[in-house]
């Protein structure tokens, strides 16, 4: 996720201090991976340098001075462009699980076991997310749903692959062809 554009979006509502941005970001978007202060100030320095934000005021405090940051017109344009730009759908074509399945078949191991172990691990994580979702607020529900739908897609692949292991094994035994369809 782009921390820079997220900060710009948060600053569009009103100018804020660096620690406020971190708190808001962590609350709304970073529950499982809160930001380090180093990331916050490095990001703000880059946005300042690029003219996307400016210092709106400086307040003396007990420690170092506290700067308040405001978004510039160029910053608004930048965040607008980012919001309207679709995210690149991840096609997951480089798949570690597929590699493990093929290698286990090639080495005479039990590929069904590998798929089952992965399936159990996926369901364990899905149970954790479901517990978090059922006790959380709407933000938690939407964040967890995003992850749950993706994990469910993985599980469908695991199930489908388990049902086609014999076919895949037969394909791998034929030296002239490769299961990905590419010419060696």
């Amino acid at each position: 996720m782009s921390i820079a554009q997220t900060f710009l979006g948060l600053l569009e509502g009103s100018p804020r201090h660096g620690y406020e941005l971190k708190r808001l970001y962590d609350e709304r978007f970073g529950q499982s991976r809160p930001l380090h202060y180093g990331q916050v100030y490095a990001t703000l320095a880059r946005l300042l340098k690029g003219g996307l934000i400016q210092v709106d005021g400086v307040e003396p405090g007990a420690g170092p001075e506290r700067k308040r940051y405001a978004i510039t017109a160029a910053g608004v344009t930048d965040v607008e462009r980012w919001l309207n730009q679709p995210e690149k759908p991840d096609t997951y074509l480089q798949n570690t699980l597929y590699t493990k399945v093929v290698l286990s078949l090639l080495t005479g191991r039990n590929a069904a076991d590998i798929l089952d172990i992965q399936r159990a691990e996926h369901l364990r994580v899905m149970r954790e997310l479901t517990r978090r979702k059922t006790t959380g607020d709407l933000a938690d529900q939407l964040i967890c749903d995003f992850a749950l739908f993706h994990l469910e897609a993985d599980l469908r692949w695991l199930e489908q692959t388990a049902a086609r292991l014999d076919q895949l094994a037969a394909t791998l035994r034929t030296p002239a062809s490769r299961p990905d369809g590419n010419v060696p």
């Binding site: 172990i117 399936r119 369901l123 149970r127 479901t130 059922t134 739908f149 469910e152």
Partner: protein, 235 residues
């Protein structure tokens, strides 16, 4: 009312061992084994035709296995008389099916009260208890309507209320969200699992949907009539 779990914590409440069942020449179960402890929610997963619904029907005493046995609280279901098994299904078991299977001529309140009435509870008390369960499942507003007049999600919540109104020890749910959209399915699962946990009922949940299975405490996969469970912690 909740069920004490102390008598069943060490031994399973429901134990199926080596179940085999053929429909003609087609094997549906081929040595399936499943143990369910009091108060736990177990998802039985598997693709269409894997034998998971047959397993549920054997566990509930609806279908007799050709071989193997099902023990409920230490008693073998196949040694009970039909009347005993029927009584067990009325008092100790609750059922939720994919399409609700509510009685179309009765109102939703009467549908929920029905299992109590069949057990001899007087109408007034049965309907009071049914009304409390409809409220708990957040469908009080459909109490006076007939099943044909309510949405699929509402109907399924009425079916959950009917399954739980007798405070059964085991709820058998066969694809309870299979006919619902994603949001309604989530709501039914949340309410079903919350209600079961609050009464101490065990749930045997048959589903092919991983997101539904994720509401359970653990899952067992049925493939070609055999059960398989991966316990990560033991590896």
């Amino acid at each position: 009312m909740t069920h004490p779990t102390t008598d069943d914590t060490d031994r399973p409440l429901l134990a199926a061992t080596g179940l085999r069942k053929n429909y003609g020449a087609t094997p549906a179960l081929d040595g399936a084994t499943l143990h369910v402890r009091a108060g736990e929610i177990v998802a039985v997963m598997g693709s269409s035709g894997s034998g998971k619904s047959t397993l549920l029907h054997c566990l509930a005493g609806i279908v007799q296995p050709d071989a193997g046995e099902v023990r409920y609280r230490g008693r073998t279901l196949s040694t009970m008389s039909d009347a005993e098994r029927s009584a067990l299904r009325r008092t100790d078991f609750g059922f939720v099916f994919q399409f609700g299977q509510l009685v179309p001529e009765l109102t939703c309140l009467e549908n929920v009260a029905l299992p109590l009435r069949l057990s001899g509870v007087r109408r007034r008390e049965a309907e009071q208890r049914a009304a409390r369960w409809l409220a708990r499942l957040e469908v009080s507003d459909v109490a006076g309507k007939r099943p044909g007049e309510v949405s699929g999600g509402q109907g399924q919540r009425v079916a959950v209320a009917r399954a739980l109104v007798t405070t059964p020890r085991v709820v058998f749910a066969d694809e309870p969200t299979g006919a619902l959209d994603s949001l309604n399915g989530e709501q039914v699962m949340r309410l079903l699992t919350e209600a079961a946990r609050s009464t101490g009922a065990a749930v045997v949940l048959v589903t092919h949907e991983p997101r539904v299975a994720a509401y359970a405490d653990r899952e067992v996969v049925v493939r070609d009539g055999r059960t398989r469970e991966i316990l990560l912690a033991e590896r």
